[in-house]
Symmetry: C2
Subunit: 472 residues, 2 copies
């Protein structure tokens, strides 16, 4: 890839105002990392304010073969926005933030720079509901959520982000502005480019507008917290509930290490001493909510030593969810480096996956904690380590490889919602086989100069395992 010369910079200055072009090292530094790890300094940061600006930037980048790295709030856990090959970071923070709710058609039309939580708020003001809710939704942008297809706890009942995106406007890797999909849930006019872009991790286009389908807001919800004396029991409880025909809005699991971390960080009334807890939320009509919460309670209580507490007030409900949202910040206190995985398995395999994770923890003597969206098989094993401790990082590397292998062995997938980025790229071939080549063909056809987010998703030549230790 080429470096940015003064001549190229001058061309970019004709597109973007001087105050939205960052070139000083001190300014560039903030754009060298995301919520995963690894640091890569870009050559320039551009802050576009219109799709036309983005189109022109991408066109210039094509002419001079400069990489372009789109960036939202950079909460990516897989290195999504990292400028691994230098070049341009396309920082969307100055892009206009617009949310327009179309109540009659139950749609939200938003710009990519909008914080996802504000879509929740605006929808609920109109009695509507946007179910996807990544843990980071109060800080992450909808543009990032869409490019990673990150979805959070409600995928179980409501599906993932993808199921809510019905139209997009984007700038293609060649700089063209195009629209895909539209305003109707039913649309079979040509290939489904909309869903191809969702989860494409910024390799196929820069999204500039998003049309989201909304649904009526559920009238009632109830939440319970069940504690178990065995983490495998907690996994069995989850599969038993689903087999009983109950489809909760969310079923979240936390193992004892997470419980301890949260209680240590900010006491939240979680049952210290339990091996695992499961938080279950059901929603819908009041009558069904009451019946379903009873069914869930009964199933959980059927396990030896299990204790169930149903939230009796909105205050108690909020407190339970606050404790859940505390997991990430709490475990961050356990060490400076957090490797957050999202290997996902068919939900019947959750007890087995939990067993495998336990074995990996012991084998590599690592601080491996497990929580996540267990209802849809989307666990988040996290390894808390210190990237300066090269020896421990090497063990973590091997452990991560085994986590991926366990997920694939159990019929699951490398990533449920964090994306592949740079961290999981080496394992793509082992899961996908020849399907990987079909993906590369699309990238090659749309982005012949490999301008958009290069270095992500596809394994580099000779890469066969994840390398967590940089500069070696």
């Amino acid at each position: 890839m080429n470096k940015i010369s003064e001549q190229i910079l001058n061309e970019l200055r004709e597109v973007v105002q001087e105050n939205r072009i960052l070139v000083k090292k001190s300014e560039l530094y903030s754009f060298s990392f995301d919520a995963s790890f690894g640091e890569y300094l870009p050559d320039v940061v551009l802050q576009p304010q219109s799709k036309e600006e983005i189109s022109k930037i991408v066109t210039i980048a094509n002419t001079y073969r400069i990489p372009v790295y789109p960036r939202g709030s950079a909460t990516s856990l897989s290195g999504g926005p990292l400028p691994t090959m230098g070049g341009i970071v396309l920082d969307m923070s100055q892009y206009p933030k617009a949310i327009s709710i179309d109540k009659e058609n139950m749609l939200a039309i938003v710009t990519p720079s909008v914080i996802t939580a504000s879509i929740h708020d605006k929808a609920e003001e109109e009695g509507l509901f946007y179910p996807p809710d990544p843990s980071s939704s109060h800080v992450s942008t909808i543009g990032g959520n869409i490019l990673e297809n990150s979805s959070g706890p409600k995928g179980l009942k409501y599906g993932t982000t993808k199921e809510y995106v019905i139209g997009l406007e984007l700038v293609t890797p060649m700089g063209e502005i195009v629209r895909t999909g539209g305003k109707t849930v039913k649309n079979v006019t040509g290939f489904d480019l909309t869903r191809l872009i969702v989860g494409s991790e910024g390799l196929l286009g820069v999204v500039t507008e998003i049309t989201l389908r909304l649904i009526p807001k559920p009238a009632h919800k109830m939440t319970l917290l069940a504690s178990f004396q065995s983490v495998v029991d907690s996994g069995r409880a989850i599969t038993n509930i689903l087999s009983a025909g109950v489809l909760p809005a969310a079923m979240e699991l936390m193992d004892k290490y997470c419980i301890e971390a949260v209680e240590h960080y900010q006491p939240s009334g979680l049952p210290i001493g339990a091996e695992a807890i499961v938080i279950i939320e059901v929603d819908g009509h009041e009558a069904s909510v009451n019946e379903e919460i009873d069914k869930c309670s009964d199933i959980c209580r059927s396990f030896p030593g299990a204790v169930v507490k149903v939230a009796k007030s909105e205050e108690e409900r909020v407190k339970i969810w606050k404790a859940r949202k505390m997991v990430s910040p709490a475990i961050t206190q356990l060490g400076p480096t957090k490797i957050s995985e999202d290997a996902t398995v068919p939900r019947s395999k959750i007890p087995e996956m939990i067993e495998r994770l336990h074995q990996i923890r012991v084998k590599y003597d690592l601080n491996l904690v497990v929580f996540g969206h267990a209802g849809d098989g989307n666990l988040h094993p996290n390894i808390i380590t210190d990237k300066r401790n090269i020896e421990e990082m090497k063990r973590a590397e091997s452990a991560v490889g085994e986590i991926f292998q366990a997920a694939i062995d159990l019929g699951g997938t490398l990533s449920g919602e964090h994306g592949i980025g740079i961290l999981k790229a080496p394992y793509m071939r082992s899961e996908l086989g020849p399907a990987l080549d079909l993906m590369k063909m699309i990238k090659q056809a749309w982005d012949p100069h490999n301008i958009l987010n290069p270095g992500k998703m596809f394994p580099q030549k000779g890469q066969t395992k994840v390398v967590l230790t940089q500069n070696e």
Copy 2:
């Protein structure tokens, strides 16, 4: 495209048993048409029984540049399986039919030759539910449903077929056997090829296995039939119900011409004299079903002259739906040629679309009837004509063009579920603009010799309007 020589036939005979190779004109004839119109004789019909056979057939077809046309039950209304350029029809009727229900993971793993209704049956035996239900589901195959993303009445509440397909096995246009997706709802490992294949109309691969997500079967359902003195009122009732926060499982509209056709064909107790009827079904918990059906009744009754009848028994419920399913066969009695469209608009535009359709009916003096899945904006305007009447077909051509234009003008789409096929291809550019080129790039990259289902979806050079009169 090349013709099939005796040498090529001999190579095919090494792949497929002689009794599954049809070459006699009398045998080929049955494969020259589908449920749309137009007749195209293939050179040979092959009836594969394994993915390996399909892989070898496609490889031979690539070597000799022979078109391959996959075919399920041929219920396509857009010319999907028609062998417009001769060559090979890949008839899936002899392919093994297998349905495996994985209750614990709420999945169905099926082969493409399975009739969709049998998936409904098998799922329900296990207390599970597969919502997509095209009108043809008792005869059409799941392979065809998936390649067209045809979905039927329940898209409104439950989403389309696409929302239920989470994994595929397919033979690529180059003859390779690949897998996409998997068994988990959450899966962001690479681009979403699964959803790219769904609705790809057989241009990107021959599907050989499908993994479907199932959901718990709703415990209760209720159905009402509301008649209106104005078809625009019926459209308003639909949007008012949705605005009131009720999300019925289905909202089906029939105009007076459909009512008359059904009552003439097989008296079903529909209200002759009404300008339109709407059938509404709500499902879920008993308490919510009762409340929602009351809300729907009240909203419908608020229109002058509207009459609402709630089905009081399962027998009455079934009778209402039987009348709805009778529309297609009934209107077929009105004339030998039926042009069935599925232009779809944002649901708030239904009243306006109905007005536009009425104007088109009058302007071109055609037997244009309207029914469809009004709840999700997916109307089915049908023109009943006679393809031997060239003058009337010319008027129908113009009318079809105006229907498409009306849908696009109102922010809708050419096709909600029938697919583009040969009938709507000329209008693709006007809806999609440069997105059409992105689609073509994928086709070109995956199928460089244009082997799989050529002549479909993409407009031919110089084509700017639909031509219903063949051989001119």
